[in-house]
């Protein structure tokens, strides 16, 4: 056990993929792709006399997340003004929730690679609005794009229950997966719709001290979250061990040097002068609304992984892979519901279809193979109409041009031959055409049996029933 342990809390900001912004009718657009300042209305530009109206869809999305993170739901929701000046903040204040966030006291159970489960508490989930985006030009001017200003934003704050870069990474990945399952956020860190900021400090292992922490910002991948956390833990440990002390500050990540660097020293806490926003009356969530949203929650990945293992007998790795993306999991579930054997479906999905999708760049919802048609293919294998090798060929055809396995088998004449007559004829011909090999076999070179099987299968274009071929060949070789 090392002398120091890390204490990490994660602040996650997730934009919500609502139709319109948090407090006005401007659409939510892809702020990386869209032309600057096209998705703006007088309100999200902070123009005089404009007034906010809370977006019901955003509240519903926030509620979904809070429920999925096992939070206690505050029925009484109030918005507060958080005051600070910055050109990307149109009103000079951000509407946020200080004292009455939508969710508090939640948790997630995160499973690590090793199978170990970590219980991470979620302190709060609150609603706010995003800011615009500044671009600083080489000539010293700055440009501002307000497309993102006012986009609903959820802040999810964990307790400092994380003690390693690995767990920080696993927690963030878990959270991202939940957000994607709920279809409230695309999880795209590079586009900034999901932003993860660790607060990191260290302490002597086994104590419950909370020491001076640093905050690392602008981490645009989970790999960087891992590396930056790892780096920060080592840096702080070295600092303490050499008799120094950690300074409370915001640090950034230098990708070239693979290190964090000081961005801003936090001498004093910023005074945001929060006060209740008089433009927005408090919102009281009805129990019926909460119940309806809870009832509408999808099955979450942790539950799916559990179910795939215990009910379907899949291995942990396969279960995790199937549950990683909601659409894949839904596809898988549909195939099993349609009568597919879970292991056979999982095998086709993981070993065959994913390779084809990777090659074509398609998502599972866009491919021509449906859960039903895959089950149709598996039925053909089960019934012995085709063998497993031909099944792959049929699947490739289904993937390329659609259609059912049965129709492809019929059209291409791919049905497996199990009748003795034609197989026996081919065996006779092969043995007759290869007298030297036959002689060698009979002289004791029994490995040549495989050669004969291969020749028969090739002659029959792979359609021969392998069991029948084996049986008849053995008979022929004995005679």
């Amino acid at each position: 056990m090392s002398k120091y342990e890390a204490v990490i809390g994660l602040e996650v900001h997730a934009e919500l993929m609502t139709d319109s912004k948090m407090f006005c009718g401007a659409p939510v657009v892809d702020s990386v792709e869209a032309e600057p300042n096209v998705a703006v209305r007088p309100l999200c530009l902070g123009m005089p006399g404009t007034l906010p109206v809370a977006n019901k869809q955003a509240i519903e999305y926030a509620l979904k997340v809070a429920l999925a993170l096992n939070c206690d739901i505050n029925k009484f929701n109030r918005f507060d003004r958080k005051n600070y000046f910055y050109p990307d903040l149109p009103k000079g204040y951000q509407i946020s929730q200080l004292d009455h966030p939508i969710g508090v006291n939640g948790y997630v159970d995160v499973t690590l690679e090793s199978g170990e489960v970590k219980h991470i508490r979620v302190r709060r989930v609150h609603m706010e609005e995003d800011t615009g985006k500044l671009t600083h030009m080489a000539d010293g001017t700055s440009l501002v794009d307000y497309n993102r200003a006012g986009v609903p934003l959820l802040e999810i704050v964990s307790e400092p229950d994380i003690h390693s870069a690995e767990v920080a990474h696993a927690y963030a990945t878990h959270l991202r997966q939940i957000l994607r399952y709920l279809e409230v956020n695309s999880g795209d860190l590079e586009k900034g719709v999901l932003r993860v900021e660790p607060n990191i400090s260290i302490r002597p292992t086994g104590t419950d001290e909370l020491n001076t922490r640093t905050e690392v910002k602008n981490l645009n991948s989970f790999r960087i979250l891992y590396m930056a956390s790892e780096y920060e833990i080592k840096r702080q440990t070295a600092l303490i061990e050499s008799g120094g002390s950690v300074v409370q500050e915001t640090r950034g990540w230098n990708e070239e040097r693979k290190s964090t660097f000081s961005q801003r020293i936090k001498e004093d806490a910023h005074d945001y002068r929060y006060f209740p926003d008089p433009d927005l009356p408090a919102i009281e969530l009805d129990q019926s609304f909460i119940d309806a949203v809870r009832a509408g929650l999808p099955e979450l990945p942790a539950s799916k992984i559990e179910r795939y293992q215990t009910e379907m007998g899949l291995g942990a790795a396969d279960a995790k892979q199937l549950a990683a993306e909601k659409r894949t999991a839904i596809w898988f579930d549909a195939a099993v519901t349609a009568g597919g054997d879970p292991k056979a479906v999982a095998n086709m999905l993981i070993n065959n279809l994913s390779a084809m999708m990777n090659e074509s760049g398609q998502a599972i919802d866009d491919i021509a193979v449906t859960p039903d048609s895959l089950v149709g293919l598996l039925v053909q294998v089960e019934k012995g109409v085709i063998n497993k090798n031909i099944a792959k060929e049929v699947l490739a055809e289904m993937f390329a041009n659609g259609g059912s396995a049965a129709s492809i088998i019929a059209a291409k004449g791919l049905a497996q031959v199990s009748d003795d007559g034609p197989i026996r004829d081919v065996i006779s011909t092969i043995l007759a055409n290869n007298p030297n090999e036959l002689a060698a076999y009979k002289a004791g070179k029994t490995k040549l049996r495989g050669f004969f099987v291969g020749q028969v299968m090739r002659e029959m274009k792979g359609k021969a029933n392998p069991a029948v071929v084996n049986q008849l060949l053995d008979e022929a070789l004995k005679s």
């Binding site: 005089p48 007034l51 000046f85 000079g92 008089p278 433009d279 927005l280």
Partner: protein, 485 residues
């Protein structure tokens, strides 16, 4: 009789009877503005072309059988209320040249009902003031004595209606900004219940106190413009989703049995004896008309002004943060971003800067509980005062202001004495009540005195009818100012 001498309701009748046209009436008002407004200085921006075009359109609508309530009636709009395509400055240099791409809800309502908007009336900068002397552009004069202030912040609207430079006008009232100038200028001004009027498009001063109000020369005129502009607006989350009653039909003039409360805390030292005399006489008149007079107490009255001067500046400090020259309005460019913001924000006038600083202080860490937090608690006490009072009475009667109009320049160096103008009006803004000021006589110098009538939440019809009964008996509105040009 000149067209401009008509009251709004008289003009409406004349238009209905086809005795005149909106174009004629609008032209008559524009001509009078040309002649009189150089002395009164009520309008910051005039839009005669728009007005005449709208008047012509109104006449066409009428010819086609339309009889919307304000069809063809020329009115003024306080320059804190946004008008699409027409400069809206809030009386501030920081919004000089700002042309909103949207109408305020109340302006949309005016346009729907066919009113003709003459222009934008003067206001104290961001509605912070009681005299229009804080306007960055000019000080409006009181039509009854041009050396005196018209009151504020809606002084431009009050003076315009008083000087017959518009048949009615919209203002806004955060601490008394409709009732106080109405009182000073001898017109009727109503400040409806918070949430009765949409604040969408009304440039915010203090969001939890701001409310659009209406001016008219008579109670009926005021009721007509109020009727047309009140109502629920889904774009204002604080707007009340309550149907608008027929206020005009409520003006019966019958107030028999009406219980009128007289709060002892409003007849105190500092109240001008002439004002007190006129208001006492007015209360006696109400009794003569059949009202029952009840002495009541609003015990937390003395806290209203300090509470107001914590809450309003606190909200203002956030509301005014957006004015930094990035997206609209003028920008004063400095060496870098911070200096640009600082230089631009130096366009705010002294009173605005004072209130931003007061409010910033009141909200600061370590002071919030002592100031803003405590003010919110005291506000609840004041609210409860009114709640209790309205269990006893239907209407509360008081002076609108402690004195009549003061001289221009008299109080500009003494913000505290300026703030005292609001002592009788400001409680209402902190509560959930509505109120109005109706002329109740003149002092020895011939300056108008106002009677304030306060009603319970959404009881506008009650106070309007009480004022109507009183006005019918006294007819002070028939006296008009003799403006020295």
């Amino acid at each position: 009789m000149k067209l401009t001498d008509l009251t709004l309701t008289e003009l409406r009748d004349a238009l209905r009877r086809g005795e005149t046209s909106s174009v004629e009436a609008t032209q008559a008002v524009l001509d009078r503005i040309d002649a009189v407004d150089p002395a009164v200085k009520s309008y910051l921006t005039l839009t005669p072309e728009n007005a005449l075009a709208d008047a012509a359109a109104a006449d066409k609508r009428r010819a086609a059988g339309d009889d919307s309530p304000l069809l063809g009636v020329p009115v003024g709009v306080k320059d804190i209320i946004c008008t699409k395509g027409v400069q809206t400055t809030a009386g501030s240099k920081i919004l000089e040249g700002f042309v909103p791409p949207y109408d305020a809800f109340v302006v949309e309502q005016l346009k729907k009902t066919g009113a003709v908007i003459l222009g934008k009336t003067n206001t104290d900068e961001f509605a912070m003031g009681s005299s229009t002397e804080n306007s960055a552009y000019m000080t409006t004069s009181n039509p009854w004595d041009v050396t005196r202030v018209p009151g504020g912040s809606s002084g431009g609207s009050a003076a315009a209606v008083s000087a017959q430079l518009g048949y009615a006008a919209l203002g806004s009232d955060t601490g008394g900004s409709v009732r106080q100038p109405a009182s000073f200028c001898g017109v009727v001004g109503i400040r409806p219940t918070y949430g009765r009027m949409s604040r969408w498009g009304v440039i915010a001063y203090a969001s939890s106190l701001d409310q659009v109000g209406c001016f008219g020369r008579t109670v009926a005129d005021t009721t007509a413009i109020f009727q047309a502009t009140a109502g629920h607006d889904p774009h204002d989350s604080t707007s009340l989703s309550v149907a608008v009653p027929d206020y005009e039909a409520a003006l019966t003039g019958d107030i028999k049995g009406l219980r009128v409360g007289v709060p002892k805390e409003y007849f105190v030292e500092g109240l001008n004896p002439e004002t007190e005399k006129a208001v006492r006489a007015a209360i006696a008149q109400l009794a003569d008309l059949g009202a029952e007079i009840v002495e009541i107490s609003l015990p937390h009255t003395e806290y209203a002004l300090p509470v107001y001067y914590l809450i309003a500046p606190a909200e203002a400090s956030a509301n005014l943060a957006r004015y930094e020259g990035t997206r609209f309005g003028p920008r004063v460019t400095g060496d870098d971003m911070i200096s640009t913001v600082k230089k631009t924000r130096a366009l705010f006038g002294e009173e605005v800067q004072r209130r931003i600083m007061l409010g910033t202080y009141a909200l600061s860490a370590g002071y919030y509980d002592a100031y803003y937090g405590r003010a919110l608690k005291a506000r609840t006490l004041i609210k409860n005062d009114f709640k209790k009072a309205f269990e006893q009475v239907d209407v509360i009667a008081s002076p609108t202001t402690p004195t009549t109009a003061f001289k221009i320049g008299d109080k500009t160096d003494d913000p505290l004495s300026m703030y005292l103008n609001d002592i009788f009006t400001v409680s209402l803004n902190l509560s959930a009540s509505c109120g109005l000021s109706v002329p109740c006589g003149f002092d020895a110098a011939g300056l108008p005195i106002g009677l304030q009538l306060i009603g319970d939440t959404l009881q506008e019809a009650t106070i309007l009818n009480a004022a109507y009964a009183y006005e019918s008996a006294t007819q002070f509105y028939k006296q008009t100012p003799n403006i020295k040009l």
